[in-house]
């Protein structure tokens, strides 16, 4: 989970982004730059385009105009490098309900070309000790969310993009996640997240972006 030494140019930039959903323009001319050690918290009312922005930032959706750049290059041009640096937790946790947390994490590791790590220890850290071999179907919503968050700790990546990571998670879990983000930022990582809760981060510069003021 410790990102490697950062070259100063490796930052995430959004240049003149315009995104639409259906026929509705969500935002236009959006631009920002995120440097190593910085976090961006995206705020906005429901339907303001937070999820669309995050999906655009990680390259799942394409913007109508503008581009997202990683290390100065369009992310669609450097997809393998960008994806290797990316850890995305979306609305759906991205875990298989019929597999156990351990089995889910093993696939995530293999997808990133990593050998088997100390996954039991990581599951312990996200508070799932004793649930390693239980099918995720039987876990609660918050516990399933924790399995997805365990991926953040298991797969090292410089850029974390988290869509509502605190949903369904209890107070201890929120503290644990804030701490993990702090450590990540302190090690030179970047994070973009949306949240309806107040996020308290001790380290790192935290930027805030509020969407949908015009709408």
């Amino acid at each position: 989970m410790t990102p490697g030494p950062e070259s100063p140019s490796c930052r995430l930039e959004a240049v003149d982004l315009t995104c639409e959903r259906g026929d509705r323009r969500l935002f236009a001319g959006l631009g920002f730059a995120l440097n190593p050690g910085e976090a961006l918290i995206v705020e906005g009312a429901n339907g303001a385009g937070k999820t669309t922005l995050l999906r655009t930032l990680c390259g799942l959706s394409r913007p109508v105009t503008g581009s997202v750049r990683w290390c100065g290059e369009d992310i669609h041009a450097v997809r393998p490098e960008f994806n290797a640096a990316l850890n995305y937790v979306g609305h759906q946790p991205g875990i298989k309900a019929d597999l156990t947390p351990l089995e889910n994490l093993r696939v995530d590791l293999a997808l990133h070309g990593l050998a088997r790590g100390d996954l039991v220890d990581i599951l312990d850290r996200v508070g799932l000790y004793g649930f390693e071999d239980v099918p995720c179907r039987t876990l609660s919503a918050g516990q399933r969310r924790r399995v997805a968050l365990a991926r953040l700790l298991a797969v090292p990546a410089r850029l974390w993009i988290l869509d509502e990571p605190f949903t369904a998670i209890d107070r201890d879990g929120v503290g644990m996640l804030c701490e993990a983000i702090d450590v990540h930022l302190a090690a030179g990582g970047l994070a973009v997240l949306t949240s309806h809760q107040a996020v308290e981060l001790a380290h790192g510069r935290v930027g805030r972006l509020t969407l949908g003021r015009a709408a």
Binding site: R62, P80, Y88, Q92, G94, D98
Partner: protein, 222 residues
């Protein structure tokens, strides 16, 4: 990349084992559709032997269609498809791994049951061999071509009929050569031609389908 592909295949097989009932459904469908023919047509052994190869091939296509949707839809719904597309591995390679796993649990069983249905349809021994040979080469084509259709329609809420309309016409060449081979073999002719034709389609599908699937998946996720 190999590690990722192997792990995707292993995961999908494991999921298939935990969902055994879904495995059996297309297979039962296959059995029932074929056994309807002797019931509805005259149970004349000679006629059954003539139409047998074609009937089994059509039923295999339909049963294969039935199983297709399970290839990407569950992954689309629980978000693991996003993780697949956002992984540093080439999406085409991962898609190929998924299609292979899907073929192992859907195409291969169809092939294994086919001889039983051949007996039901009174197929002569040579025709049975021809049927097995064409199914062995043809069912992977069904999975690969079908996967393109599934990848295109996975973002839609109700894609069942659309998927059939999209994919079934593309199966026609495989069907023609597959059914013809059984007839040829029964008439004592060589089946090398049809089998090689389907083999050529398999090579074409193996090389091009993964690229099409990965492009289609990206569109569906947008």
């Amino acid at each position: 990349m190999w590690r990722a592909m192997v792990s995707v295949v292993k995961r999908d097989l494991l999921l298939a084992v935990r969902h055994r009932s879904e495995l059996v459904n297309p297979l039962l469908f296959f059995l029932i559709v074929v056994s309807l023919f002797p019931l509805s047509l005259e149970p004349d052994p000679r006629m059954l032997a003539t139409i047998g190869g074609g009937v089994i091939w059509v039923a295999a296509l339909l049963a294969g269609m039935l199983a297709l949707d399970a290839m990407f839809r569950p992954d689309f719904e629980d978000g693991t498809l996003e993780q697949l597309v956002l992984s540093p591995q080439p999406v085409a390679a991962l898609a190929l791994a998924k299609v292979f796993a899907h073929w192992l649990v859907s195409g291969l069983p169809l092939m294994l049951v086919a001889p039983l249905l051949g007996v039901l349809m009174n197929l002569p021994g040579e025709a049975m061999l021809a049927l097995l040979a064409t199914l062995a080469v043809g069912t992977p084509v069904i999975s690969l071509v079908g996967a393109i259709g599934v990848a295109l329609t996975v973002g839609l809420r109700r894609s069942g009929v659309l998927l059939s309309l999209l994919v079934l016409p593309l199966y026609i060449p495989v069907l023609i050569f597959g059914a013809a081979a059984a007839g040829d073999a029964a008439a004592g002719q060589s089946i090398t031609g049809p089998v090689l034709f389907i083999g050529a389609m398999l090579v074409l599908a193996l090389t091009l389908a993964p690229l099409a699937i990965s492009a289609a998946l990206r569109i569906s996720l947008e």
